[in-house]
């Protein structure tokens, strides 16, 4: 079953001078098993949108359904319990994930979520170890450190590990690779791919179109609080007008091939990743390629 947004509008601080409608009539179906990338310029409403997916924000109007359960509707006690269960299926890594940290040691911080699920000590420890290795934090070196005395990228990794350790069914990551070094990024991207293979529905926000092209099978472009487009990457990056409206650029490979073609090199455009692009260029350069 999917996560569904139905005509969701969200206004921050209504009836104050700071009132701002950050999400405007957004409707979206995120199918189970999909890998959704969300992009849009600064302030376009991406974080506001994803915070609806686990009920952190409740729509000013409209509905959010997780596996068919309306997570905010007027509810009986049984429905409230169902709503809470539904929200728990969604793990969320915030944009400045380092602000999620609060425990005294890295271990305790990552163990907090699984602890709340009522798991046994041994199982919790197992999950902490597993999650730390997934984000590339050597267990012995980091378990006893204070999460507040780490570098920016290390803090980010701890925060992500804390969510992974809860084994969510839907995983939402808001700018997860921002501030990670190349190895950290590569590890996390590989991990996101693996989690997806294990049937976790992945939803991530990113300014990096290369990552979106690389990972996502669905993309959403946002602009001024609206969903401007929801499609496959291959189709989405062809929508030049929408890209421009959203203030986005296509993946580097895509625009590079277009530049080459415009400069007279007879190359097939349309590749989204470096790997595909290499093939296109090799074909264009080999003497009798037809």
């Amino acid at each position: 079953m999917p996560i569904e947004l139905k005509h969701v509008t969200y206004t921050y601080m209504p009836k104050t001078p700071f009132e701002r409608t950050a999400l405007q009539d957004a409707s979206l179906v995120i199918e189970e098993g999909s890998f959704l990338g969300i992009a849009g310029h600064t302030g376009s409403g991406k974080s506001t949108l994803v915070q609806h997916l686990n009920g952190l924000l409740s729509p000013s109007s409209g509905q959010v359904l997780i596996d068919g359960v309306d997570i905010h509707g007027k509810q009986t006690k049984a429905e409230k319990i169902a709503a809470r269960e539904a929200k728990r299926k969604v793990g969320m890594v915030f944009q400045y994930a380092e602000h999620q940290l609060f425990e005294e040691t890295v271990f305790a911080d990552i163990a907090f979520g699984p602890g709340n699920l009522g798991l046994e000590e041994a199982e919790i420890a197992e999950r902490v170890k597993e999650a730390m290795s997934l984000v590339g934090l050597p267990y012995e070196d980091f378990k006893d450190k204070s999460p507040f005395e780490l570098s920016g990228g290390q803090m980010r990794r701890v925060a992500i590990a804390g969510i992974l350790a809860m084994h969510p069914k839907y995983l939402v990551l808001d700018e997860p690779v921002a501030g990670l070094d190349a190895v950290g990024k590569e590890k996390l991207i590989k991990e996101m791919r693996q989690l997806h293979k294990k049937n976790i529905t992945m939803i991530f926000v990113s300014h990096n179109m290369d990552d979106i092209a690389d990972l996502a099978d669905q993309v959403v472009f946002m602009g001024q609080g609206r969903i401007l487009l929801h499609d496959t990457p291959a189709k989405a990056f062809r929508e030049k007008d929408i890209l421009r409206e959203a203030g986005l650029c296509p993946p580097q490979m895509y625009s590079f091939l277009e530049e080459l073609a415009a400069a007279g090199l007879p190359v097939d455009t349309g590749a989204l990743t470096v790997k595909q692009g290499i093939e296109h260029i090799v074909r264009a350069l080999s003497p009798k390629s037809e």
């Binding site: 310029h41 570098s151 920016g152 921002a178 350069l285």
Partner: protein, 289 residues
Amino acid sequence: MAFIELDNLSHIYHQNQENEFYALCHVDLSIEEGEFVAILGANGSGKSTLAKHLNALLLPTEGHCRIDGMDTKTAGDVWNIRQQVGMVFQNPDNQIIAAIVEDDIAFGPENLGVPPAEIRRRVNAALKTVHMQNYRTFAPHLLSGGQKQRIAIAGALAMETKCLVLDEPTAMLDPQGREEVLSTVKRLHGEKGITIVYITHFMEEAAAADRIVVLAQGHIVGQGTPGEIFSMTDRLRQWHLDVPFAAQLAEGLRQKGIRLPKGIYEREELARELRKLAPGATDGKRNAD
């Protein structure tokens, strides 16, 4: 004497305790006035620790850090040092203090004793530079991630210091915003001769610097022009750094037998070289579908 001088500088967190940690080890580094230096390195390599020495937020455990000849350990000079070195922190929330955007940006210059009319001018100019004029009376904690980052940058710009240290200023920005910040930095450097120390994980941004310094585990392990650094793709990987798009693509093409010169790291250059190799490069275009 160079404008910034790190002289055998080491920084140890929790010195003489069980969890003692060497974040910087015997670092020697000189940065001339008017230079634009990018600092690269893996997570935890010591970049932010180094940056915080440049305006005396951290003091060396061993060795010295001198700014315009003033030692950061001389308590009486800290004020003068901070008037010369502006800082954009890695996490904007650590920097934003006031409840209203314009007050936040005015805070630094006010502390420097800048007259009110001049403060107003600077706040306006800084907000304009980061395209946040419409948010002047907003509460900073109600802004989106990228908007906060812009406010933090505006705050540092309004100080109009001789030197700017920027610690991952674009991590949360969209491509357009990143481009704007980088071109602002280039302009400050080019037109006003401001000394720039720029920490980033984006190689395309580091390519704008005069010089790149690479840190690994608290040591300086590499230095050179962007061309020198980016042509060492194997080293880049060892240092946990990204390989720039054009260098990555050129490498992949070479592996497929395409003969490209060494050391390509810019798109324009790669495009030029590829056009040279095309069979009849000028016979018009052919597009997919």
